[in-house]
Amino acid sequence: MLKKIALEKFGDLVAALMEKGPLYAPVKSEKAVDFREIKNPGDATLDFYNTAMSPKFMFFPQSEDIIRYKLGKDATEAEPVKIDAKPSVILGVRPCDAKSFEIMDRHFLGAGVIDPYWKDKRDKTTVIGYAFDPSARPDPADFYNTLGIGACDTAGSDIFMIRADKRLLLKGITEKGDRLLKDLTVLEDGSNADEKVFDDVSKKGGEAKTRFMKIDDKEIAGKLVQVFGSKEFWEKATAACISCGACTFVCPTCYCFDIADETLFKEGVRKRFWDACMFTDFTLEASGHNPRPRTFQRYRQKVCHKYSYHVDKYGCISCVGCGRCTRSCPVNIDIFSVVESVMKQ
């Protein structure tokens, strides 16, 4: 199903989506653009390259309450927090980020244990993908194309949106997407000419190049196993790393979390929240032993997890080439360059 709306009526589309439930869309702040819950239709923007933070927070918020408890004299009363998200829409997800949802699904849904927190939100959220402009130059940090993701790929989106001339074309990709499209009366039906424009732009999206080297999943996974033991290689590649968690927190496919009980006087919450393999205490054991005390070991873990272990376990690289880690790194470490030099080893 293809629908369309004039670009100047984008505000009307936003308003209509807000009626369906909480709507998350890119919002411009002083220096960056990020997904926020929309309170006024005018806040949402389509003029951005990509958001600073990834949209993974929709299904995997930075912090999530699991159990609430009260400490009594003799017993502790504990109540699991009800898993019941509101049906929501997230609008303006770039193709590489939409793809990240599918990759995360393999871990949260397909690993033999279903994560109910992820599943609930994932089931109830409609993802409206938004194509990169295939004729614009991609950010130099990006390499989604190298990983086989096109600038107009629809994978991971329920509805896919393309901006062409002075209109937005919205195509239903999944049943969930079609249902929402049908409900949006502000939209007009797309003509045959619109279909052609949609297809033409989509085709162009496959041609837009980010960085050039092709990376084969199996090949890099094997290569990393070989290079793993080379302390010299990893120390050199990560000499600049300051061991902060910026790269993992902005990453759309980093899913590690920690669980802690946070008690204030007699009441408390058990929470799960993002953790980062780049932190010194990530692997610190109760005995005091730390199997990864050095920076190069932690960075190596990050690369190997994404490009080797994930390939073995889930059959794909856990990276979508969105370039956020490189852009946000205080010392300009570029994971793609590290992977590239692994390939040359």
Binding site: C244, E262, F273, T280
Partner: protein
């Protein structure tokens, strides 16, 4: 001012000389990142690696940050801009590094650029000094007559706010925090191991990103850097969510200077303001 390209040539030459003669075991400087505009700090140990060194307007990182991790008696040469040299002076005062282990390659420079925004870095976010305060070798000509304005001009707006407004301002800024700790990891003066935020017994702040925990973290860090922050601006440039941390650091530094008549990292002979006591010290806070 000496052209950046010339500084780069001088840096390569000097690094080569130091490594070839065995005067130092390692040179900490800038190397090429994934493209021209994204240089990356590097530590080289061989003379032939000096060809890969770069210096351009995006070489903003404060390399003093890497010094404390080397064991004492490691001979290190390090490239330093003005604020970076202040950090080294401060580290020497705090006995984290030893003057005799270091060869300081001073870089007199102004007009560095923020890679994220492309804007020129000036007195709004840094101390904005042009010449290193301590060096063994200068890689360019000393800059004379540079007037960049006071590093505290930018505080005007914050200082004119009421207490409530200021509180609201910081609450809103801290709300953005994702607790990635890039600020503390990029900071040359944040070398505590473990940081109080990583301690688990007792745990000083929520480990999950709660607003209370954000306050605990940032306010403690701000105060821990009182009289020690050299205003290099690295914490704010490192922040992926653009919290203007420099504002608080500048405010604390300004108060410290007024109270103790001493700026952080200016002279090796000084003692850090907060660990030194003098009869003439300000007692204003006690009144």
């Amino acid at each position: 001012m000496t052209a950046m390209k010339t500084i780069e040539e001088n840096l390569k030459k000097e690094a080569r000389r130091l490594l070839e003669s065995g005067e130092v075991a390692v040179v900490i400087a800038y190397g090429r990142g994934f493209d021209e505009n994204h240089p990356m700090p590097c530590a080289i140990t061989k003379a032939e690696e000096t060809e890969g060194l770069v210096f351009n307007e995006y070489c903003t990182f404060n390399l003093a940050r890497y010094l404390p991790k080397y064991p004492p008696k490691t001979r290190i040469a390090v490239a330093l801009k003005a604020a970076d040299s202040r950090a080294v002076v401060q580290l020497i005062q705090e006995e984290k590094v030893r003057r005799e282990d270091l060869v300081l390659l001073g870089i007199p420079v102004t007009g560095m650029k923020d890679q994220k925004t492309g804007e020129t870095i000036d007195n709004r976010t840094t101390c904005n000094m042009a010449n290193p305060v301590l060096f063994d070798v200068l890689l360019g000509d000393e800059i004379h007559g540079f007037k960049g304005g006071s590093p505290y001009d930018v505080l005007e707006k914050l200082e004119s706010m009421s207490e409530d407004e200021r509180w609201a301002f910081w609450e809103k800024e801290f709300e953005k925090c994702i607790r990635c700790f890039a600020c503390r990891k990029a900071c040359p003066m944040c070398y505590c191991d473990p940081c109080f935020m990583d301690a688990s017994r007792p745990r000083w702040a929520d480990k999950s990103p709660t607003p209370d925990g954000h306050l605990m973290y940032h306010l403690t860090r701000f105060y821990h850097l009182a009289g020690r922050c050299v205003d290099c601006g690295e914490c704010s440039r490192a922040c992926p969510v653009d919290i203007p941390l420099y504002l608080f650091h500048k405010k604390v530094a300004k108060e410290c200077e007024a109270m103790f008549k001493q700026s952080a990292g200016m002279r090796i002979e000084d003692k850090p303001a907060m660990v030194n006591y003098g009869n003439q010290d300000s007692d204003e806070m006690l009144r």
